[in-house]
C-alpha cells in the first residue's frame, strides 16, 4: 500500500482549531505525512506541540519553511541560516536570478513558482538542467488550480503542462502538494492525480509525485540532519567503546 504525503499545508500556526481540523482531514484523506509551512522564527516548543497534534492524528509532521528571497545573496544567507532548522526548504522563485540560484543549490528541496503570473514562472530548460544536477524538485501546488477561474486557470494549466513536460525530459522530480490554507481546499491523493491529468501528467507519475518523491526528499533530509551524518554516503555507525581501536 502506498504512503501518501502532502508537503504543503499552510494553516495559520496561531489558530490551533484550524490546524487540528486540517491535520485530521489530511489523515482522513489518507495522507501519512504532512509538511506544514512554519514561520522562520518558530520556537522548538511550538514545533513539539505541532508534532503532538500530528501524532494524535496518526500523521508524521515535516517542518517546512518557504523562502521568498528577493536576491540570490539574500537566498544564500537565508539558506545558511535555516537549512539545519527545517526538514524541508522551498524557495518561491519570484525573479529569474533567484530561480537560477535556487535550482543549482543542493540545500533547496523544492522550487515553487507564483501561480497567478505566467510571466514569473521561470521553469525552463536552463532551470531544469540546473535542478536535475542539484536534486531539487519542482513543486506543483493544487490549491490555485481549484481556486482560480476561467482565463487564469487556463493559463495556469498551460504553464503546468509545459513545466511538467520539461521536468520529465530532464529527470527533475515533481512533487504535487495541496498548498491548502483551509480544509475546503484539501483533496485526496487520487483526486489530485485525476486533476494532474488536466496538465497531461499520467496518473502513475502523479501518484509517484504524491508518494515516493516527497517521501524520498524527507528521508534524505532527515538523514542529513541526523547527528550521525558526516557527508553523503558517510555516517557514524558506532561511537566510543563500541568502536574498535585501529
Amino acid at each position: 500500500m502506498r504512503r501518501f504525503a502532502d508537503l504543503h499545508l499552510q494553516p495559520s500556526v496561531k489558530d490551533s482549531d484550524q490546524l487540528n481540523h486540517m491535520v485530521s482531514r489530511a489523515s482522513e484523506l489518507g495522507y501519512r505525512l504532512v509538511g506544514i509551512t512554519l514561520p522562520p522564527n518558530i520556537t522548538q516548543e511550538k514545533i513539539r506541540q505541532l508534532q503532538d497534534i500530528c501524532k494524535d492524528a496518526g500523521i508524521d509532521l515535516v517542518t517546512r519553511v518557504d523562502l521568498t528571497s528577493k536576491t540570490p545573496n539574500q537566498l544564500l544567507r537565508e539558506l545558511r541560516h535555516f537549512r539545519r532548522k527545517f526538514e524541508t526548504i522551498s524557495v518561491v522563485c519570484t525573479s529569474k536570478a533567484v530561480a537560477r540560484q535556487a535550482a543549482k543549490d543542493r540545500r533547496v528541496d523544492l522550487l515553487s513558482f507564483p501561480a497567478t503570473s505566467s510571466r514569473r514562472r521561470f521553469f525552463d530548460y536552463a532551470e531544469a538542467e540546473l535542478a536535475s544536477n542539484a536534486l531539487s524538485s519542482l513543486e506543483v501546488d493544487m490549491a490555485p488550480l481549484l481556486s482560480l477561474k476561467s482565463f487564469s486557470r487556463i493559463q495556469l494549466l498551460s504553464s503546468l503542462r509545459k513545466e511538467v513536460a520539461i521536468a520529465k525530459k530532464f529527470g527533475v522530480p515533481v512533487v504535487i502538494s495541496s498548498g491548502a490554507t483551509n480544509v475546503y481546499l484539501m483533496r485526496g491523493p487520487y483526486e489530485y492525480a485525476a486533476l494532474a491529468s488536466l496538465f497531461d501528467m499520467a496518473v502513475s507519475f502523479a501518484l509517484r509525485a504524491l508518494s515516493e518523491t516527497p517521501l524520498n526528499i524527507v528521508k534524505r533530509n532527515r538523514e542529513k540532519l541526523s547527528p550521525n551524518f558526516i557527508a553523503p554516503g558517510i555516517r557514524i555507525v558506532r561511537r566510543k567503546r563500541n568502536c574498535p581501536d585501529t
Partner: protein, 106 residues
Amino acid sequence: MPRHVRRRYLALRVLSEQSISKRDVMDAVWNAFLQLFGEHGASQTNLTFIEYNSEKSCGIVRCSHKTVEMVRASIASITEINGKPVAIDILGVSGTLKALREKVLL
C-alpha cells in the same frame, strides 16, 4: 458499436457547513464537468445521479468506466456551492452498486 457499456459507481461525501440539496450537488458536478471538459466530454460520460442523502451528505453517481478520471477531476474541482465553500470527497469507486455499498458502508 459496443454491445455493453461498462459503468462505474462513485460514492461521494460533501463537506460543507450548510445543508446541500441533491439538485445543488448535481448542478455543481455538471457545471464543473462542462467547465473542464466541455459538451463533447460531457456527452461521453453518461453521468447520472443515482442517489443523494442530504442528511448524511453522501451520494452515488454513475459514469462510463472510461471517464472515471474525468469525473473525479471535475468533482475535485468543486470549491463552492451557493457561494459557500465546499469540498466533495470520493469515498470509493466500484463496478456495481452492491460492491460500492459494501466498500464504503453507505
